[in-house]
């Protein structure tokens, strides 16, 4: 099925001061749109036209780099917008998620440290993830447009560490961006929704 750019689920200025309207305008209206348009062009005659986005991501991985890059980024960004909300983040997690973070990741503080560190150490463009793999929460990172789907996991939460996601607001200070994402932007209700759909 053809890719479509979903609208942002909030106003462009809703995530300030942690993520500016200017960043969201470029990121959503230009970068995400380019993945949608390039993806649709590359989808033609790929043999994957009738598949779901998840299937296209998995089946193009390692076989059709151009399509994979754009389909992967389309998938990642669809969720990225929903992984954030105004007045998000912080330690008030839904109970089910808190319990899994406690049992699998050593508690919230360790989750925060390790998730930020995964983002800081993803060299170049990419993403850091909270992934459900074999029934457990794990923190992972992937380069460029990759995501946990192609590594046998379910992405529950992801943060974009391509420089376009933070350069206008934070310049080279990727750690500050990641801390702000965790402390003030994460939409844990959407993480819970994905977790419940996966188990």
């Amino acid at each position: 099925m053809a890719f479509e750019l979903p609208p942002l689920p909030y106003a462009y200025d809703a995530l300030g001061p942690y993520m500016s309207a200017e960043t969201l305008e470029y990121h959503h209206d230009k970068h995400h749109l380019a993945y949608v348009n390039n993806g649709n062009n590359l989808l033609k005659d790929s043999g994957l036209e009738g598949k779901s986005l998840e299937e296209i991501v998995k089946e193009s991985y390692g076989k059709n780099a151009g399509l994979f890059n754009n389909a992967g980024q389309h998938f990642n960004h669809i969720h990225f917008w929903k992984w954030m909300k105004p007045n998000g983040g912080g330690k008030s997690l839904p109970g089910k998620l808190q319990a899994k973070i406690d049992s699998d990741l050593g508690g919230y503080d360790k989750f925060r440290t390790d998730f930020v560190q995964a983002g800081v150490t993803q060299f170049g463009s990419g993403w850091a993830w909270l992934t459900l793999k074999d029934g457990k929460f794990v923190i992972t990172k992937t380069p460029n447009g990759e995501n946990p789907l192609v590594h046998g996991g379910v992405p529950l939460l992801g943060v974009d560490v391509w420089e376009h996601s933070y350069y206008i607001d934070y310049r080279n200070l990727r750690p500050k961006y990641l801390e702000a994402f965790v402390d003030s932007l994460i939409n844990w209700d959407y993480v819970l929704e994905l977790y419940e759909a996966a188990v």
Partner: protein, 242 residues
């Protein structure tokens, strides 16, 4: 986050960035920790490449990004005395022989140091065209300057994510266009780099945002062909390093 400033553009800064902002226009020279490698100052004023590359981008790129590669490279080498004695081009050509514990750090930060050292050197010019022997080599191997620029820019736009596009040069003076991801460099293949452009978003985002193609096109206006010609002559003499 304790120190927060929101400017009229809605930018959010921590304390470290505030320091940089405060120093805009009054050259900051980042200090790398002790180690075999150091960050040389930019060979021209940060505004020298205006309007094609803005001074703020040059400052952050050199004083923060490049400085971090030097600092991290030295930190990795502090753990290995033997590797620290090697010239950078040898470290990069022999990554497979480097200790596994620091191999990735050497690849990313050693590559970053080599790439940026070359990058600053070949900019600060007025664009135009190569002359003499270099012009003949561009004509012979790359189909002329127009075709070089078209093919180089296309290769640069095709790098998905962070990376570089280069022109490599052999000892015989033969040229080729090569793209690499992240901070990889043709030096890792034992080749030599004549020139290259950085297509990490940090190289152009403040001025060009998502328009990488416009940046690639504009960049040719600041190429210093005299410096590129010096590198070409050095490559043929066997003295070109990074």
């Amino acid at each position: 986050m304790t120190t927060v400033l929101t400017t009229r553009r809605g930018m959010l800064f921590g304390a470290a960035a505030l320091t940089l902002t405060a120093c805009t226009g009054t050259r900051v020279r980042a200090q790398a920790p002790a180690g075999p490698f150091k960050l040389d100052p930019l060979p021209y004023a940060p505004a020298a490449n205006e309007p094609h590359i803005d001074a703020m981008t040059m400052e952050i790129h050199h004083d923060r990004h490049h400085a971090a590669y030097v600092s991290n490279l030295n930190a990795a080498l502090a753990q290995n005395g033997e590797a620290a004695k090697l010239p950078l081009q040898d470290i990069l050509a022999k990554l497979g022989e480097m200790p596994e514990a620091i191999r990735t750090a050497l690849r990313n930060n050693g590559g970053g140091h080599a790439n940026h050292t070359m990058f600053w050197q070949i900019m600060g010019g007025k664009g135009g065209a190569p002359a003499g022997e270099l012009a003949a080599a561009v004509e012979r191997d790359l189909g002329g300057l127009d075709k070089l620029q078209t093919d180089f820019n296309t290769a640069g736009t095709r790098v998905f994510g962070s990376g570089w596009v280069f022109v490599t040069v052999t000892r015989e003076g033969k040229l080729a266009i090569v793209a690499k991801p992240n901070q990889d460099t043709p030096l890792m293949d034992g080749a030599r780099v004549l020139m290259g452009n950085d297509v990490w978003e940090h190289a152009y985002y403040l001025k060009y945002q998502n328009k990488r193609a416009d940046y690639l096109k504009a960049w040719w206006n600041v190429v210093n062909w005299d410096k590129v010609a010096e590198r070409y002559a050095a490559a043929k003499a066997g003295t070109l390093t990074i």
